[in-house]
């Protein structure tokens, strides 16, 4: 076999492998739609998305997932409120300020956090955070929006931090040196030069962190409480979409209305994470810093 032939073989092998993974994904999406769409024979799209009542096993059943959508959005919002400052600022510290020894330690700790299985974090939220919240604020339940958001933030921080750090690291050295040469302090350089230059990467990091939070299942199943009602306070229990799917799918009769409704909930979730990814992609393009290096 000549070197040229080897080249062709390798090229085709890579092409086939990537084709397989794309095909598998495509088939999953087709399956998702095939199992989810039949619900719209029983209920209109409007009633499904904006219905206030989720009683899938009653007769007649109500398939309204509005409380579940609200729950997903609300825990994602509050978790990003916590995770974005923590993630971005820790990335700034690690990449720009920390001395090399501390930098290495911090980086590995954050990576360790990323490696924690979600069920462990969920269990922590359930047996440690929930009773603590309940005692401290004298609440009826510790399994609520605050608890779920805090645990989800803990999961999103490593994503946000490590991607932001890569973005900050990719800011060309020339930018910083030029800033210092003009007499700017370190703080001014970070705020006015480095962070704006890395903004596209940081936005991508934030959006991907939020996508991680909205799709996360185990944590919300364990600590969000699971009440399928629109919350009135941040200490109310909620049931985000993934929790509903995970809890009910196991025993929903095959190909029943309930089963299709759960798959349709999955479609809604799929569109939401897709939207997050498209936004991340768009931001990455829009704020792209054209210079000697970009991310």
């Amino acid at each position: 076999m000549t070197r040229y032939q080897k080249e062709i073989v390798i090229k085709n092998a890579f092409f086939t492998l990537s084709l397989i993974s794309i095909m598998v994904l495509g088939l999953i999406v087709i399956f998702l739609f095939r199992e989810g769409l039949p619900i719209f024979r029983e209920v209109s799209l409007r009633d499904f998305l904006f219905g206030r009542e989720w009683y899938p096993t009653y007769d007649p059943p109500s398939y309204g997932i509005w409380p579940l959508i609200v729950a997903s959005l609300i825990v994602t919002f509050f978790s990003s409120l916590l995770a974005v400052p923590l993630g971005v600022l820790s990335a700034v510290y690690i990449s720009e300020i920390a001395p090399p020894a501390i930098k290495e330690i911090l980086k590995s700790i954050i990576e360790l956090l990323a490696g924690l299985p979600s069920v462990v974090l969920g269990f922590f939220g359930m047996v440690t955070v929930a009773p603590w919240l309940q005692e401290t604020f004298d609440l009826p339940t510790g399994l609520n929006i605050v608890n779920a958001s805090a645990i989800l933030a803990l999961m999103a921080v490593p994503t946000i931090s490590s991607i932001s750090e890569d973005a900050l690291y990719a800011v060309p050295q020339d930018f910083k040196e030029a800033s210092y040469a003009l007499g700017a302090t370190k703080f001014e350089t970070i705020v006015r030069i480095i962070v704006p230059a890395a903004l596209s990467g940081i936005s991508t990091a934030v959006i991907l962190g939020m996508a991680r939070a909205i799709g996360e299942t185990m944590v919300v199943l364990m600590v969000a409480g699971g009440a399928a009602a629109i919350p009135e306070s941040i200490f109310d229990s909620v049931r985000p979409m993934p929790a509903s799917i995970a809890a009910e799918m196991g025993e929903a009769p095959f190909r029943s209305g309930h089963y299709h409704a759960l798959f349709a909930t999955g479609i809604v979730l799929f569109f939401m994470t897709l939207a997050f990814n498209l936004i991340a992609d768009y931001l990455a393009q829009k704020f792209k810093e054209v210079g000697s290096a970009t991310l």
Binding site: Y55, P131, P140, T141, L143, A229
Partner: protein
């Protein structure tokens, strides 16, 4: 590479040899109630382990579907968490099917609260009001001035179905109710929360929570069997006439010592 081929060859050989063997034995089709499903499943697995040539196929769908299938003669055993209705009986007779009930287990569900909760007893009506969200404070039922946190199960579980049927009479559980995905998770949630009330199958009760008496009756295997305890119901398997062949074998197995151990392990009260 050659090792891989060997493994594949052995695997294929197994399939070829095993398939006719499976076909040679008896087939039993079981359909119906999701409440009975876990027992039927565990029993079927145990039975197939002993009788290697028997193939049992299981599906849920609810008691109504099971009985419908029995009347259509498309199943050998219909699982049911209720007695057969009169119309169903009439229809069955018309089609020449003779449904025979076998009580295989008793489903008893216990309301539980935090050990520090002063409330020891609730009437069936009070429980119903609490789960519908009409009673919202423990003070209204003789406890401290605390909000009631209602803990329920995911809507497709059999325990949820039984609770809805026996306590709520089909009324809807309040949407503010918390959801837990298993009996164990309900115990965990209630044991950590003095505001909470939950319900579990009798087999899951432990010392971390306090079991309430219902209308003054304590739940136990004895009171459930005597029909004194109100939140209990027998679980049935219906067959067409007296069971024969492998169907008979399976029902005998389930009613025997090993089968009833499975019943207990799945959180139900054994019938003997």
């Amino acid at each position: 590479m050659s090792r891989l081929i060997k493994i594949i060859a052995v695997f294929m050989l197994c399939v070829v040899v095993a398939a006719p063997a499976a076909l040679a034995g008896g087939n039993v089709v079981i359909k119906g109630s999701t409440t009975v499903l876990p027992v039927a499943q565990a029993a079927a697995e145990a039975y197939m382990k002993i009788h290697k040539n028997v193939n049992i196929s299981l599906s849920g769908g609810g008691s109504g579907d099971g009985i419908k299938a029995l009347i259509d003669k498309s199943t050998d055993i219909a699982n049911s968490s209720r007695e057969i209705k009169k119309q169903e009986m009439d229809l069955a007779k018309k089609r020449g099917v003779n449904p025979v009930a076998h009580t295989v287990a008793i489903d008893a569900i216990i309301p539980i609260v935090h050990p520090k909760n002063k409330v020891q007893n609730l009437s069936l009506d009070q429980l119903s009001q609490i789960y519908q969200g009409k009673i919202t404070n423990w003070r209204e039922v003789g406890g401290d001035n605390l909000t009631i946190v209602v803990v329920s199960r995911d809507s497709s579980s059999g325990t949820y179905e039984s609770w809805g049927y026996l306590v709520l009479n089909g009324a809807k559980v309040t949407p503010r109710a918390q959801l837990q995905a298993s009996n164990g998770a309900v115990v965990q949630a209630v044991s950590k929360n003095r505001y909470a009330i939950g319900y579990i199958g009798i087999g899951y009760l432990n010392k971390s929570v306090n079991a309430l008496t219902v209308g003054g009756v304590q739940a136990s295997a004895k009171t459930a069997l005597a029909k004194e305890y109100p939140i209990a119901r027998p679980l049935y398997m219906y067959t067409n006439g007296t069971p024969k062949g492998e169907t008979e074998g399976f029902i005998k197995f389930l009613l025997g010592k090993k089968g009833q151990e499975i019943v207990k392990k799945e959180g139900f009260v054994p019938v003997r």
